[in-house]
Amino acid sequence: MTDVRVGYYPGCSLQGSSRDFAESLHAVAKALSIDLVEIPEWNCCGASSGHMLDHLLSVALPVNVLLKAKKAGLPQVMAPCAACYNRLATASHEIATSPATKAQVESVLQTSIDKLPRVLNVIELLAQVSERIAPKVTKKFEQTVACYYGCLLVRPAKVTGFDRTEDPVEMDKLVAAVGGKTIDWNFKTECCGASFSISRSSVVGRLGARIMQDAVKRQAEAIVVACPMCHSNLDLRRGEINQQLEHKTDIPVLFITQVIGLALGLPKKKLGLGRHFVPVKFPPRPLAPPAVQ
């Protein structure tokens, strides 16, 4: 299998509160022969706070990252954090469509900007190598799950150009490739409250409660995400969520890379499964009759 080489932008949360995402991503990438080349000296993209308080910085910071990737000879950059992915893609889009912003960013970064590397999210990267996944499955992931995409992977369509905006399916396909079942539900792309986790955790509790309630009602045994903020808002903030729910829920929240890693038979520790707030466990299954070969 030839290595797929791709620029890697970890972003700040994968170094800190979302180490489980980073660990599982690296384990799965290795198993699938994806070579993640970390962008040298990458800086923070500014995330939500950047675009909320300072538009120019919110474009300049991500473009600086993309220029470093280009200099390192990386035509594609994958950002596992959906918020980083969105900021990198938005910045790139603004450079391509707004000459005024481009000129300002050029004077901030003191360089001229032409073609920037392509920005990918983790689902797009895994989809590129999807045919490698199924043959490597050693232990089917036989759970029924709700794939939760949130806001920033899919919106706005003109920037991300990824999947169907209101009913995306690419993550569902990956889960199906490792033997899982996904539910049809209403909250695939509803917002979890994102960066309000610290300043307004009540908002996160209210929004998270609606998401969890629909998933549980439709018999999901876990939520699968591809974003550190979605993960922490539904996992770490489960206390606030349960306060708003009539029936408390303890279904776990997994990163898509953890789901694939489990199916590939990778050790739980390598997948960071012990770092979750809500323990990762599934209801025991009734013993199935032996399969007829």
Partner: protein, 194 residues
């Protein structure tokens, strides 16, 4: 759609500036309310998202002031749902960014949003200092700014023991370079105002 902006050129209206600086045409909004209907934060807002645009459409200082002092601009999460669904493709999240920045520049931000403003400032300060976000340092500054010392004390130990809370800032970024980007961005903005 061409819009004719009422205010004199000495004080262009917010709508005129949004069109020029943000490439958002406030006049394109025909007040269908679809943005408000799908907004996850509408319940927390004092002025609905579509009404924020309506306030700008009149181009009167009184209405602009109402928009700038609204809590709504700080409760917007930036989830991009509204612009995705808007039949006129009005970039409302971009308008919200613009209004937040203008409210801070004029020092009229709604005080009920002090904690939200403090969070974003603490975040950017952390990045300006280290080139990357240092989560614990950011939360520390946020607590100092807001006085919310005991909030989240419950989850912090669990985060720590699960290895989710780093005690030290991350190296690896080019600090100097990032500090220069922040400094030059300030200078470029100042220049474009005169």
């Amino acid at each position: 759609m061409s819009s004719h902006h009422e205010s004199s050129s000495a004080h262009p209206s917010l709508a005129a500036r949004l069109e020029k600086e943000g490439e958002v045409s406030v006049a394109d909004c025909y007040q269908c309310g679809k943005c408000t209907a799908g907004c996850p934060a509408a319940e927390e807002m004092d002025v609905a998202p579509s009404q924020v645009l309506r306030l700008l459409q009149t181009e009167t200082p009184k209405h602009e002031d109402r928009a700038l002092k609204s809590l709504s601009i700080w409760m917007c999460i930036g989830c991009e749902t509204c612009v995705t669904r808007c039949p006129q493709e009005v970039d409302l999240p971009r308008a919200m960014d613009f209004l937040r920045q203008e409210a801070l520049a004029r020092n009229v931000a709604n005080q009920d949003a002090d904690d939200v403003v403090a969070f974003h400032k603490a975040f950017l300060n952390s990045v300006e200092r280290a080139g990357r976000l240092f989560e614990l340092g950011m939360v520390g500054e946020y607590k100092l700014r807001t006085g919310h010392f005991f909030k989240d004390m419950g989850i912090a130990p669990t985060m720590f023991f699960k290895g989710k809370l780093g005690l030290f800032p991350h190296g690896g970024a080019n600090k100097r370079e990032v500090a220069d980007i922040f400094a030059r961005a300030r200078a470029v903005k100042k220049e474009s105002k005169v």
